[in-house]
Symmetry: C2
Subunit: 341 residues, 2 copies
């Protein structure tokens, strides 16, 4: 997030010009991913001619694109050659286990991008202009893509969330993973506790991605699928823990409270609900990443938001939970909010 | 420009995520300009309800949009109300004489935006995918819009450029302003030297904007129009000075040299050519703004570029000029390059 304050330096129109051109940065990163530039740079030697050859692209195009990436910190240019910056080596070279190049597909898909071409209209209306309920429309196919592509963004969060959920629990337990998506959060609990049984809830086509990941992790014998809408299917239970990751932000507060009541009813007494969310400070403008996430919810949902800790606490309490607490995940923009039934 | 280097802090995917979402910043600023948010904020009192009313927009939309603008330094939020940051007060409130809100129209028009939806294809091809020669297609209507809207971005450059061109010249002189656009550069010379006569060259519909500005500045009796292509019309002359502002970057080096030869032939001996350009350092990746301008030329032209001082010097010299020198304009991303015939 670009947060330099003009008061830090002389007053120039640079910030305005830069914001009006910021869309170029998204386009350049997507183009580089599409052309497999980061793999080619990682292979070396990184001169314009060999990069152009490897990427089946023009030398003029590659030179200008790679210069632009270097200006933006996702490549380094030295003596006319390009090599990885620490960020591009770890997060953009497809050969890196932490590579996030797939998330460009999700964030770049039309349902996520098109609303920004009509943002004034959305601000007027106060809700997405996508058809129906936008990204929370039942069985929206974007969630299959989310499950398939966003795992690298969420993988670093699974360990800390699993540890928080399991704290003090090593014996048999039942866990419900609502809006499981890629399934990584429930799968992590099953990996950390060999006696945990996990039920993943999501649209059926999405759960196929989760089950595939459970199989890869070797926990599929303890992974059960519950296909359907979180607002409609019977959760079963009682559960020791319910996970609600990246889900509440899509809905208005009353809808969230209704869902949390249903979650509460599915937990054993003392069982815990854990949500993973972008949680801005009470001023709603810091830290930049979680605070800016409200814009994504304005553009793509009828009434979602990035809720503050006091708002989430109030929702949990109204639904009957006690001991509500936020646990920011270090080095990430995410917070786990836990409550006890 | 977002240039923080990941080496400055812990390695997180934040920079990648931020680049993939950077297009939101452009969309938010354009939406705010379209909804006249910056005028409404300037009028006060800046609470969500009154801003929503003034902008005929929803409270949810205004709150999330204004939070996003505050995160990005172009508003300030305090006690739940929004007020101008120094940048938004000077460059975004339409009541400010330095307001740049009109440039969003130019930078946001389809010819400037659409290429970024096909940037991988452009990098492959090495040239714009816009029809014909893109933005350098004869009589392209975007240059009327440029002339009408980009003046606020260029106005701060006119004084310094005029002073450089006039240095040592107070008597009668003839000036040719090639690709005059809004005409502000030639008009400034006419204002600084009451004996200067200026000829503006551009497509006829563009020159109507320039003549209008000359009239407003009270110099239209010394302003002559030369409609047509800089590559085709007879320049006339001899001139004491020729201005070539924001023009060479649209073309390849051979084309620039050809044009500079024609300019040279239209100058009296000792007369001077002055170009205004984005001139990156020889590394082509600094300073960020002029260096990043190459991307705009890749996307919108067949063979343009942001040329370095050594490249521009070589072109001037090949065209017969001597004493070539770059004069960076303070507090701006622009450089004036001068040469003598």
């Amino acid at each position: 997030m670009h947060t330099e304050h003009p008061a830090d330096g002389p007053l120039t129109p640079g910030l305005v010009f830069e914001m009006l051109q910021a869309h170029q940065r998204t386009a350049a990163l997507k183009a580089a991913i599409d052309l497999d530039v980061f793999r080619a740079v990682g292979e070396g030697p990184g001169d314009v001619a060999s990069l152009a050859r490897k990427c089946s692209a023009s030398e003029r195009g590659i030179r200008i694109l790679c210069d632009f990436l270097a200006i933006n910190g996702v490549l380094i240019k030295e003596d006319g050659r390009y090599r990885h910056s620490p960020t591009s080596a770890m997060f953009l070279d497809p050969r890196s286990p932490a590579s996030m190049h797939t998330i460009a597909q999700f964030l770049g898909n039309p349902a996520m991008r098109e609303p920004y071409d009509r943002l004034a209209e959305i601000v007027r209306a106060g809700r997405t202009t996508l058809p129906g309920d936008g990204n929370v429309e039942p069985d929206n196919p974007i969630w299959v893509q989310f499950a398939e592509t966003m795992a690298p963004m969420m993988a670093p969060m699974t360990g800390p969330l699993g540890a928080l959920v399991l704290e003090g629990h090593s014996g048999p337990m039942r866990v419900l993973d609502i809006a499981a998506g890629h399934g990584l959060f429930g799968i992590e609990v099953a990996k950390q506790n060999p006696q945990a049984h996990v039920t993943g809830l999501d649209w059926a086509p999405v759960l196929r991605v989760a089950l595939d990941n459970a199989r890869k992790a070797g926990v599929h014998d303890r992974y059960k699928m519950l296909p359907g809408s979180a607002f409609e299917v019977d959760f079963g239970g009682p559960y020791d823990a319910v996970l609600l990751t990246n889900f509440l932000h899509h809905f208005d507060q009353a809808t969230c409270v209704g869902l949390l009541k249903k979650v509460h009813g599915s937990l054993r007494p003392g069982g815990r609900a854990a949500t993973l969310e972008f949680v801005p400070n009470e001023d709603r403008i810091s830290p930049p990443m979680p605070a800016a996430f409200s814009m994504t919810m304005l553009a793509s949902t009828p009434a979602g938001d990035a809720y503050t800790l006091s708002e989430l606490t109030a929702m949990y309490q109204e639904a009957g939970f006690g001991g509500v607490k936020g646990h920011p995940i270090p080095m990430s923009p995410h917070t786990v909010v836990m409550g006890s039934a």
